[in-house]
Structure formats: C-alpha cells, structure tokens
Subunit: 456 residues, 2 copies
C-alpha cells in the first residue's frame, strides 16, 4: 500500500488521524498551504518545516505551463524539484482551466484553453491531466473534473456532474495503467545534495552558524516509521481512539531518511464530488464517485461565490455518503472560523489561498481578530501582532515594524505576514486535532467560535 489512512480519535463527526504517503505521514485534520508554482510565495522551505507544514498543495495547471511537466519529471518530481521532502498534493488543473485561463471549448473529450501567461493553446483531457500529475509526482493527485460555476441551473449542474463522473472513471483508468511512471517509483539514488562532501571541509574553515541547515543523507533509519504502533492495517480505518504522544510528526531530517522506502510506491488518486448547489446532486455525486473506489474523496465546486450557509449544507449533504474510513478533502476553503466548522462536519483535509494571499495584502489573522496592518493605529504599537501566537514573527517583531514594512511596500512585509498567517492556520489545526483527541472538540468549538466571528 502506498497510501494509508487511519482514524485515531473521533468527537462527534470530527475525526483525528493520519495518512501515510510515499513522502511521509500527515496528521489530520490538516490544512494544506498552497504553493502554486512550487513555492509558498515568499516563504523558504525550511521555514515551512519550522511552521510544521505537513503537506503542501501545488497547482498542476501552473507547473504544466511553467517550468513544464517534463522538466519537473526529469528533476525527480515536485518534491525534489522544490526541495520539499514531505508530501505534496496536486489538483488536476481543472479549477484553474475554468477560472484562470482563456477557456476555448469544453467537450466530452476534454478542455482546450489558452495559457494566462502567453496565450498559447493547450488541451487537457482526463488522460492528459493525469499524465501531467503523474509526471509531477505529487503524493496525492486529483481526478480531472469540471468545476461547476455558481450559480448554475439544475440541468447544467447535473450535466456537469455527470461529465465529472465520466472523467473520474477515465482519470482512474489512466492512472491505474500508468501509475508506475511516477518519477520516484524506482527512486533508489541519493540526492546529489546529500552526496556532496561537507562545505566546511572544502573551505577549511569553521562555519558553525551558517552550516545548520545541512541535509541528512537519505537511507537512515527512521524510528518513527518502524514503530508498529503507528501503522495502520492495510487501508482499513481504526475507529478506536488513538492518543498520539506527539503532535509533531518526523522532522525534516527524519523525513528525508525515507527516500529508499519510495521504491515501488505509487501516488494516490482522489475522486471529486460535484453537483453544484443541489443537495440531491451532491448526494448522488458522492455515491457514484464512491462506486469508482478511490482511496480518498474531495468535495469540489464549493466556495465559488455561493452563500456560506449553502456551502455548509452541501458539505452536510455529501459527507454521509462518503466512506468513513477514507479521508475527505474539502477543496479551496476557508477562513479560520470556517475550517473549524468543516472539521466539525467530518472533513479531514482543506486547502486555501486565503492565509497566504490575505497576508500579502496586509490582512492578518490573530487570536484577537483580523488585523489590517496598514492601519495608522499600529504605527507606534510596540506589541506583537498576536500576543497568543508563538510564531517567529510574533515572537520577534512589533506591530509598528510590520506596519512600517507594509506601508513601505517592503518585500519582508509579504514574507513575515505570510509566515504569521500560516502559523495561525496551522496552530488552529493543531488545537483542533488536540481537542478531538481529548474529546473536547465541542467545547473547543463553542469556546473559540464566537469571539472570532464577532470581529469584523
């Protein structure tokens, strides 16, 4: 098995657990930061590791256009390409094709579109999209779907859902026939970085403060991954509450040691539930996608302009028809308050550009509510951005300084703001997991929700 999911605790509909991928394990519920073209904008990978990011999302559409699938494939896949030796998930490109590109034509066969970069003409079918995702080599890939627009008439939503189901079947068939083409399927070689001799030796000089980030050669034994207590039975969920001793899975170095275990492993492909804003279509889409038997299921086509209450309804409609033992991924959501609510409905995975994009626009999430950092009231504010946050931004810099950076249009504003917002999301998820495991999730929900929602 290349992909396993285990539930370690439940609290109401909320579940806490973990899944295992060729590039390491991920604790759920998890928020996946978006690294569109192979980078979380402005944040170095070691900082993402320090933040406790367990899995990133990359966009197939963007990487397909630049640097191109073949380049990434030749370089060993997205993980090696971006020097991120933890799990990555790629979307199928469907959403971007419909939202970003100059869309030319949608047929049963697929979608022709023009690049938003240079206007060049391209074509994605379920087969070619999955081929791209296999070439990129993320640990989890998504079936090629049509993201139904909002609002959509019922007939349109139904037809779109039907096509997504047919495309899901084609996606899976192509994947099964080609899954061994993933770049790291036969990965045995070490990283060229790990093989280089120590720069200290070459330079013949002390450099203690600079050499801290050295990578550890692959192939070392990771105690954690050999621990049978952490292993799930093949593909079957353990609904028995399991109290993990650690909120923090393997460090970067420990994870780097997993290289040789990837040999013979393949990606996991998730199906996507569509159905617009129609409860019965959502239910039907869920049931029929599950019949295709994927190792995980996403709920797509939400948070595309519909009222938030409607989003909740659609999630509520789909969840009961997804198998309890498989991970559920709600795509493209949400605010810090919302992601907690989705967890309460049984969602295990989420991604959203909100924390990173808002950060670049000076909108910061804190335990005291939203902070628009450009506000003049912060000009002489010596306090930390969020006094309850332990991220390296809040531990070091004042609101006055962050306000100055943003007002001066300094690069560092985007870097630091992004680090904080990600820390806030990741910390929220850490607390969510802890609350579920300790059976206090209902209390957690009622405790944190009102003050956060009351802030404009």
């Amino acid at each position: 098995m290349s992909f396993r999911f285990q539930i370690e605790a439940t609290d109401g509909l909320a579940r806490a657990g973990r899944f295992f991928t060729p590039h390491g394990e991920v604790e759920t519920p998890v928020f996946m930061p978006v690294g569109t073209v192979g980078t979380v904008k402005g944040v170095p990978q070691d900082t993402l590791e320090e933040l406790g990011v367990q899995i990133l999302l990359n966009n197939t559409y963007h990487l397909y256009l630049r640097p191109g699938v073949e380049t990434v494939r030749e370089l060993g896949g997205v993980q090696k390409f971006m020097a991120w030796d933890r799990p990555i998930l790629t979307d199928s490109g469907g959403f971007q094709v419909f939202s970003l590109s100059d869309l030319r034509k949608v047929t049963e066969e697929g979608v022709s579109f023009r690049s938003h970069l240079d206007g060049s003409l391209h074509f994605f079918s379920p087969e070619s999209a999955i081929a791209a995702e296999i070439g990129l080599g993320a640990d989890i890939i998504m079936a090629f779907d049509e993201c139904t627009e909002y609002p959509a008439e019922r007939a349109r939503a139904q037809a779109s859902m039907e096509m997504t189901l047919r495309w899901a079947k084609r996606s899976k068939e192509y994947f099964e026939a080609h899954k061994e083409e993933v770049p790291w399927f036969r990965e045995v070689r070490d990283s060229p970085f790990a093989l280089r001799s120590s720069p200290d030796e070459r330079l013949g000089e002390q450099s203690a403060s600079v050499g801290k980030q050295k990578q550890v050669p692959r192939g070392l034994t990771s105690a954690r991954d050999d621990n049978p207590d952490l292993m799930a039975h093949d593909g079957t969920a353990e609904a028995v509450p399991f109290q993990s001793n650690s909120e923090h899975p393997g460090s970067g170095e420990e994870r780097m040691a997993n290289g040789e275990q990837r040999e013979g492993q393949t990606q996991a492909i998730f199906g996507i539930v569509q159905g617009g804003t129609y409860l019965d279509l959502r239910r039907e889409s869920a049931e029929r996608t599950v019949e295709l038997d994927f190792p995980g299921y996403a709920i797509g086509g939400l948070s595309v302009g519909e009222p938030r209450e409607m989003t909740y309804e659609m999630v509520n409609a789909a969840i009961p028809h997804l198998p309890v033992e498989k991970p559920r991924y709600l795509m493209g959501v949400g605010t810090p308050e919302e992601i907690v609510q989705y967890v309460a409905r049984g969602v295990d995975m989420m991604d959203c550009v909100l924390p990173t994009r808002a950060a670049r626009h000076g909108l910061l999430f804190t335990s005291e509510g939203r902070v628009t950092i450009k506000n003049a009231r912060y000009a002489k504010d010596e306090g930390p951005l969020d006094p309850r946050c332990n991220c390296k931004v809040c531990q070091r810099y004042s609101r006055a300084y962050l306000r100055h950076l943003y007002s001066s249009n300094e690069l560092l504003a985007q870097v630091l703001n992004t680090i904080h917002n990600l820390a806030y999301y990741l910390d929220t998820m850490r607390r969510v997991r802890q609350a579920i495991k300790s059976g206090e999730f209902a209390h957690f929900l009622s405790d944190v929700r009102p003050p956060q929602l009351s802030v404009p």
Copy 2:
C-alpha cells in the same frame, strides 16, 4: 568608552580586528549589508543572524521620511524598531539627498530637497541630520557631508570638500552637545517581548517545532563580554597580532543579554573624507578631517561613476593619512573581488547594495563566477548554485529551482537569491579575516583573484 576598536592582526596594509559598540562587537574587516528602510529587502532578521551578519547599515534619509525619526525614537531606536539586537550604522542622508531626491538648493546652512516619495519639502543641515541620526539611535553614525559628484572640476571638488569639512565640525559639535539624547542612553527596561509569558503555557500545548525562536530575556551575563582577554585598552589600538579562537562573535541570544550595559553609552560619529578624484584633495581632506578627531573615518564620494583604477588611487591617497588605530570605512563598495582589494589597502569596513540589489535582479555571485540565474542553461540543472557555498540556499535548492522561481517572478526568488549573495559576501570576508590572522592574506589575494576576475 562607548566605542572601541582593536587590531588583532595585520598582513601588509590589511588589518583584522574588532570594534565594540553599545549593541555588540563586530569583527573587521567587515562587510555591512544595506537595510535601507530598516530591512534587508526580503530577508528576516533571524536569517541575517544565521548568515553571521554582524552589523547592518540603515539609511537616515529613508527612515527620516518613513516611518519618521520620532516614531523610531519613541520605539527605542532602530535596533528595537527592527528587532535587530546587533550593531547598526546609519549614513547621514547626504548621499541620498544628492542622489535620490529632487534637490532644491545647497547652501552653507544645509540642503533643501523634496522627498522622492511624495514631493514634500524638507531641509537637512549638519545639525538636523545628526539630530535625526541620534533619534534613530544607530551605534555608528556619519557626519553630514556633501557627496561630490563625478566628474567634478578641481575648484568644485575643493569647494565641496571645504564645505564637508565645515559640516563635519558642525556635525561633531552638535553630536557632542546632544549625544545623550540617543534613545537607549537610559535603557534599563526589558523588551516587552521578553517579558511576555511563554505562549506554550497560554496555549496549553506542545509546540516544539514552532517555538524555537524565542528571545532570551535581557540581563543574562555574557561570558564573552566579561572576558578581559577580548577587551581593548581604552581607545588605543593593539597592533600586536591577536589570534581569536572564534570567527563567530556572540550569538543573537548572547548579544541580547547586553541590554543593561547600554545605559550611559552613546553613539560613535565618524568623519567622512571627500575631495573628488584629486589625490592632493583626498590627502588634505583626510588630514583635516582627522584634526577634528573622530573615533573612525570614512572615505566617501567614491564608486560614483569613476573608473575603478581611480577609486583604488583615491583610497591609496587617503589611507596613509588616517590614523592606524581608528577604523576606516570605505562607503558604497564593491564587487566581491574589489572588497578584497580594498582590505589589502587597509580598509576595515564596507557597505554596498550590490549583493542584495543584484540578487533581486537574478545576478548571483559564486565561487565559479557570476551566474545569471534566468539563463535557460540552468532549466534542468540539478546542482547547487555554488558547490563550494554552505549557505542554506546552496545546501538545499537546485539551480533549476532557483531559475524557475526567478523566471516565474516568484517572491521566493528574491528572498533566496539575496540570502545566497549575502552569504557569499560574508563568507568572503570571513576568509579574508582568517587569511589576515594566519598571515596568508597575500597568498589568499593571489589565489582567489584571477579566477574570479576572469569571469564576465
């Protein structure tokens, strides 16, 4: 004494030593990265610490305009403002007034100019410029000078030099009368950041991977600073070679512990040698500036468009007339090859925007020569940017990835490129210091210079 300089080794005209400031010590020869508006563009302060940056330069002109001197003063000075508890040097604003602003009028009294930001009208005299520098509170500040343009007729260069001498005298007189107004002169309070209780306790949760960057409360004893072997005699240089055991002065945490020692300390003001491109004027400017008795001397008005050989000549002309026991600061230079040459001529301190600005434009300095990272030849290059560099960029990322980031106009390109170029400069200076101390500087010069200069 608030400022001390000691020479620990010499090799030809080159000197290795260190100076002590209210915010810590600095090993020389030193390259000072430029943090114009209180930030080295794109690089968080903890990364600068990891790189071994010992002192930063801030621009008075920029900080005066935004966020304003009063704001920085109220926040405790530039070090606290930017959460950088190591030494900072500010220029006087003279260079920027002449190069960046819409210059209105230069009189004996001072300079009126319009802000490059909003066109607002401002006036800098030697007195008001020094008042601004005192308010900002850098450890080393520069006298207000006129940066003579290139080319300049002899009469013009001489008149400009004479005015700079009169302005130097006024700068020093104002400084002596007001030096106790520096924000940290009576600094006894702890940082509000250090006083906060542990976020871990408040959140009631483990957070080992996120909490690494916690600051240490000020007031702890630093063993290094109590070590009498490292202390210079008051203001007098020790020309006796001194072999330091460490290339790395106190860590951030150790330096943070110096807070209480700042009470009663003041800034150091350096004079600036001008004289255009006339050897006799350079000599005269040096001699007459030295008569004003500053704790250190800068050579200004160079690297402003003149041929490089002429720069060397002007440095050669000024150096012999500067006191051997005071630090010499060559302003606004240079390439990696050039800074080594200036050290060979007796320069102790340098600053330049080149490594940071070039990085943002994709021009990278490596042991194998210049790399223009956007070049298509790097598209599938799995190797590190510089195989001999131990910075965290070269230890982790491939040229292919850096090329992709730059080609995609990603923020992270500017961040990582800047980190590498700074590492290259700082590593060069580390090796320079080591070579001087081991008496191998001449060999170092002949060894590294030709291959580096031969690269386009």
